[in-house]
């Protein structure tokens, strides 16, 4: 108990010290605290020197929180993110996730990629019906009827460029996004897809305009929740 009191005392004095030394010119805001993030993750998707940086603004906070913890703890492998987040507490990562999730920035216009009618048909079938006989659920079953994601942890699929969607699906097919532990449910699904199916879905999604809102958690079937529980719940797979 004595130690706890000391720790508390330490906290208070420590916080006071840091705050006391804050000159007026550095605003005490999250905007300023996440400058290390926004150099790459700006308002729009951005292609950097040797990497592609997805827009993270407006994504569900549970999704962002889980991804940051996955990077930090080595489940999702990308050293620059792992190094950046190495010494961050869960509490602070949650606050950062919440900050980016709350940003309401305009989405870019949809891409205009030419598609053949049969390609459109294939994409729409995958997105709204899936192929249960191949163990491929409809995208909309998890990402919501309007494909804008499901709170709190499933991201939307609209408003993303084709290159990003193709790269993510490719990463899952090669098992290159998540490491170790149990297989990731998106990885299992992506491995069932053919290359032309990946291309059709990526083109179709990139061609849509953003409208509607993320769905609520109740829309998910218990079967899918079970199958993807490690990805979409708050523990992020770290049971």
């Amino acid at each position: 108990m004595m130690r706890f009191i000391l720790l508390l005392f330490f906290c208070i004095t420590g916080v006071a010290n840091v705050n006391g030394s804050t000159p007026a010119e550095v605003p005490d805001t999250m905007d300023d605290r996440v400058k290390a993030c926004t150099i790459c993750h700006s308002a729009e998707d951005k292609v950097g020197r040797d990497a592609y940086y997805p827009r993270i603004a407006g994504k569900p906070q549970g999704y962002l929180f889980n991804q940051m913890r996955n990077f930090r703890d080595g489940r999702r492998y990308y050293p620059p993110m792992a190094i950046l987040l190495e010494n961050m507490s869960d509490e602070y990562l949650l606050e950062i996730a919440q900050y980016f999730s709350s940003l309401q920035l305009p989405y870019p216009d949809p891409e205009q990629i030419q598609m053949q009618p049969e390609e459109i048909k294939l994409a729409e079938h995958l997105i709204y019906s899936g192929y249960p006989e191949r163990d491929i659920p409809a995208c909309s079953a998890c990402h919501g009827d309007v494909l804008m994601g499901v709170e709190p942890a499933i991201p939307g699929l609209i408003g993303l460029p084709r290159a990003y969607i193709t790269a993510q699906l490719g990463g899952w097919r090669n098992g290159g996004i998540m490491r170790g532990g149990k297989p990731d449910c998106m990885s299992e699904i992506a491995k069932q897809l053919t290359e032309s199916e990946v291309n059709a879905v990526a083109k179709w999604l990139a061609n849509q305009s953003v409208s509607g809102k993320p769905s609520s958690f109740d829309v998910l079937s218990s079967e899918l929740v079970d199958r993807c529980s490690q990805t979409i719940l708050e523990n992020g797979g770290a049971e």
């Binding site: 508390l8 420590g14 916080v15 790459c40 792992a82 602070y92 919440q98």
Partner: protein, 431 residues
């Protein structure tokens, strides 16, 4: 059923998030602690409590936990120039951990560097420092480890290169470089100084990093003279030199703040030191933090060293031009936070003018800070730190070399120039 349980968990989670917004981390700490009490955690004995504290200060978990793995179950790979060492499972699992060990076995490992079966241990496990830990403290650590939930996890064997995998070579190494013995107090010094020395030299195993190692990986001194960290692309600055990280002219409070919060008005911990603060030092009791500070300060207290003076008072035109290129990059990318005068913002963005890690002989750490960026550790005293962007995502090696050369030679700083090759060599070496 499963669905409703999950929904409840989600609602619970959302509520937690809402709470989090309002109360911030201090209150969060209180909440987590009271939640633990409510969950009815069994009372631990004083010895186990004390052992838990010592285990934190020795940062056993830091090495004996794989990234994202089960705490204390081992499996972390430590790459060195002698091979890859894989840390062992310290949980009390009977088959894969230390569940069958006795107090005496544990003491033999910590104090003599011998495993339960008498096998000599490699000094990647820092028994060269832990040998200074008292029997009483070792027993408390053992009691705590035995109180952990057992985790069944077998870890792969070490993969050590020839000829270092020879047991007889290890025996020779021990004769040459291992001195067994508990810390002996220096009666001419204060109690705090001795407690600090005990922690720094023993359990804290600061020498494991802050030293130059010879070809056989043996630490060259006990004086914390600094050196490249084995198996890592980082330089651990000397704690006994004014030119590097000596703290002889610091106030004790400031040293305590650096150790326990990770930041002070003039310094920020980064790289492996930030990790040590997060995992271990932030939990120091106030007395122990003070004791360590007293000891560390004493290492350079009598040194009247000054920062290196101006080595070349007049810069040649071509040098000036070269540095100006870096200055332009500084203006574009760095100045908004670190200021036109390089003075930064105390406690938030470190000053670069007069900053010893900027002008140290080894440019490794400053290059890595520019390349990787990073956040200071989140600690009770600094729960929401400001961060530095990872500039390797947007700058080329040549540009990083220019800007680092500039900050090493602006505002009265003087240090060697950095080449693109130095930048390239400073990359990698991460897990």
């Amino acid at each position: 059923m499963r669905h409703s349980v999950i929904t409840t968990r989600v609602i619970w989670w959302k509520n937690t998030i809402l709470l989090q917004v309002c109360v911030r981390s201090l209150a969060f700490l209180v909440l987590t602690m009271s939640a633990q009490v409510m969950a009815g955690e069994p009372e631990r004995s004083d010895e186990v409590d004390y052992g838990a504290y010592l285990t934190r200060i020795g940062n056993c978990m830091g090495c004996h936990t794989a990234k994202g793995g089960q705490p204390f179950a081992g499996g972390r790979r430590l790459s060195t120039s002698f091979g890859v060492f894989v840390t062992s499972n310290l949980t009390p699992d009977k088959e894969t951990g230390i569940g069958r060990w006795t107090q005496q076995d544990f003491w033999q490992a910590l104090h003599q560097g011998k495993s339960r079966d008498g096998r000599l241990l490699y000094p990647a496990f820092p028994y060269t420092e832990y040998t200074k830990v008292t029997r009483q403290d070792a027993d408390a650590i053992f009691a705590y480890l035995q109180s952990l939930p057992p985790v069944s996890q077998s870890n792969p064997p070490h993969d050590i290169f020839f000829p270092y995998n020879s047991k007889s070579l290890l025996a020779v190494w021990r004769t040459l470089y291992f001195k067994e013995g508990v810390y002996e107090s220096d009666q001419s010094k204060s109690e705090a100084w001795n407690r600090g020395a005990y922690l720094v030299q023993g359990l804290g195993h600061c020498t494991a990093c802050h030293t130059t190692r010879n070809m056989l990986g043996a630490s060259q001194d006990e004086a914390l003279m600094g050196g490249q960290i084995m198996g890592m692309n980082w330089y651990a600055p000397s704690l006994s030199s004014h030119l590097e990280a000596g703290s002889g002219d610091w106030e004790i409070d400031e040293i305590v703040a650096l150790l326990t919060t990770g930041v002070t008005k003039r310094a920020v911990t980064s790289g492996p030191m930030a990790t040590v603060v997060r995992q271990s030092l932030q939990y120091l009791s106030q007395e122990d933090a003070l004791a360590m500070a007293v000891y560390l300060k004493s290492l350079t207290e009598n040194e009247t060293g000054r920062l290196p003076g101006v080595k070349f008072s007049v810069m040649s035109g071509s040098l000036r031009k070269h540095l100006d290129l870096g200055g332009q990059l500084y203006q574009e990318y760095c100045q908004a936070c670190h200021g036109t005068d390089g003075k930064g913002v105390p406690g938030i963005y470190p000053a670069l003018a007069g900053n010893r890690s900027v002008i140290m002989d080894s440019p490794l750490n400053v290059i890595r800070s520019v390349l990787n960026g990073g956040y200071p550790p989140t600690t009770a005293g600094n729960p929401r730190p400001y961060g530095m962007p990872p500039f390797q995502q947007i700058l080329r090696n040549e540009e990083v070399a220019l800007v680092v050369s500039y900050i090493r030679n602006a505002w009265g700083n003087r240090a060697s120039l950095v080449r693109a090759l130095d930048v390239d060599r400073s990359k990698g070496g991460d897990d």
